[in-house]
Amino acid sequence: MVKRSLLVVALMVCLPATLFAQYDYVRISNPFLHKIPIAVPLFKPISGTEPEAMAAQSGADLLAATLEFTRYFNLINRAAFLERPDRTGVTLADIHCKNWRDIGAEFLITGGVTVAGGMVEMELRLFDVFKERMVLGKKYKGKSEDQRKMIHRFCVEVMEQLTGTPGIFESKIAFVSTGDGSKEIYACEFDGYNPQRITRNNSINLSPAWSSDGQWLAYTSYRKGGPDLYITNLTENRGTVFSKEGINISPSWVPGQFMLAATLSFEGDQEIYLLTGSGTVVRRLTRSWGIDVSPTFSPDGKRMAFVSGRAGSPQIFVMDMGSGRTQRLTFEGGYNTNPSWNPVNETIVYCAMTGGVFNIHVIDVKTGASVALTADQGDNESPSWSPDGSLIAFSSTREAGVPRIYVMTAAGTDPRRLLILPGEQTGPKWSPAVAAGR
């Protein structure tokens, strides 16, 4: 839905920004122990017109909410502010860093907004109030309706400065919703904004899976009567239908390649196969009597975790793609399914049934140690990592027994509902860092 021509024109007017070495404020391994305190005051409307004032408010609010969504930041309440950059000025010369240190901030973001002829221009600055320096300065200009995208672009820059990763701001989450009377696939922005319907065939649609470049979506659909695999390019609206006898389900793309694994049963048993993105079978990956389903790849694509019934109950196994050697990973509990391999490290999040209830657990691939991330909150299933491995989307029946999509941190803290639509929402799948839309 984003045409290049509408996108942000980032005038790389890098205002005097002495860019020094990478900040090491946040280590991804335990980022939630200390949230970075940051202040985002209202932006300043440069000419003081009404449309500018509105854009200034919406811009600042969105920026604050977006940073807050990452769970890395603690946004300081505006009521505590000792000065008002929207009145006194937005540059380093205008602000008094002590005023911000005194209220507990480590960082400050100011913005100046100009609106003219349907176009909005924003100057955004990130300050380190302890070092009393500007860390980042960017100018964005584009159509007023693209303000969201501009704010997201700036957040990418902020995250890159402070954590070394671009963050999740241009990612999407695909999911299944029943609001229109049948299970159809939708996708929304990372924060639940702007859900768009992707399938409309009034049958049963399940298991969306994003390719590494965010351009293709694979899913299972009963559109032709039985469970077939659809591989669709989202912007060009073209693709392949893979429709062999039996089930064609649970697709999962190989990182960095136009290939995917899926469970097929055309040879009789339910096994995992490797396919090209154009729907040709490359080879069979599993060879064991019983169910083999739900593949998920390690970040380098060299190992694949999956669910197998070969031990008598559904458990998670890991296969080396080169040698084919397979080892069991989960030993606790009698029903472990839905694995999702963290895109940046050696942990796998999955769904475990204990005492008839489903909860999200995370397991370390090397040590096999596992921890429950949810408990006593209904049934929690279908976990999916954010592209930076810091957040987990999942479905939960904790509110009134109706399944909804939630997002929590990798540590299991701070769960929040992502969005609410008519019907039930299940099966979330988080895209790579940049995803195509419609």
Partner: protein, 181 residues
């Protein structure tokens, strides 16, 4: 002349009786024919109409039985234990009856649907439903039904019979269902 007349009468008697017996359960024609006859053939005619009424009742009974058997075939599901695709003894009994029906109705073809209860994950249940449908099909093939008459489809947990979330509903939903093609 008397002998000939007698002979002709005998022949007529035999002919009429023969006609009456070859006529199928068309009560009316039997009755009309019976009405045409003289007293010598009236007794035979009565006998004939009685038998046709019996035949008709029997035919109706057979038709009802056939309809019941067909309904049983389509409406009687087999059930599975949680997370299992193995056939219970009860399931085998039902499948044996279905095999008999399929033998008696050699011109039919069936879709066997595999279903699961709502617990557990979507993808795993699609695979489990596939196993359940195939377990039923394999049993029928072992009983001599041609595999080409049996196709399978899995619906996983997507088409429950009972939408409730309790053990009774779940037991009902863990099933293989038989649909005539």
């Amino acid at each position: 002349m008397e002998k000939k007349r007698l002979f002709v009468m005998f022949v007529m008697l035999f002919a009429i009786c023969g006609l009456v017996f070859t006529v199928s359960c068309a009560k009316q024609s039997v009755k009309s024919e019976a009405a045409e006859l003289e007293t010598e053939s009236s007794m035979a005619a009565d006998e004939a109409s009685q038998m046709t009424a019996e035949e008709l009742a029997e035919a109706e009974a057979i038709a009802a039985e056939k309809a019941a058997a067909r309904e049983a075939f389509v409406n009687e599901n087999i059930h599975f234990d949680f997370d299992k695709s193995t056939l219970t003894p009860a399931a085998r009994e039902i499948l044996r009856a279905k095999a008999m029906w399929l033998r008696d109705n050699a011109d039919t073809a069936v879709v066997i649907e595999g279903h699961c209860d709502e617990r557990g994950t979507t993808e795993y249940n699609l695979a489990l439903g596939d196993r359940r449908a195939k377990a039923a099909k394999d049993f029928l093939v072992d009983m001599g039904i041609s595999a080409s008459r049996l196709s399978t489809i899995s619906y996983g947990e997507e088409r429950p019979l009972d939408p409730a979330s309790n053990e009774t509903a779940w037991a009902k939903n863990r099933r293989a269902q038989f649909v005539l093609r």
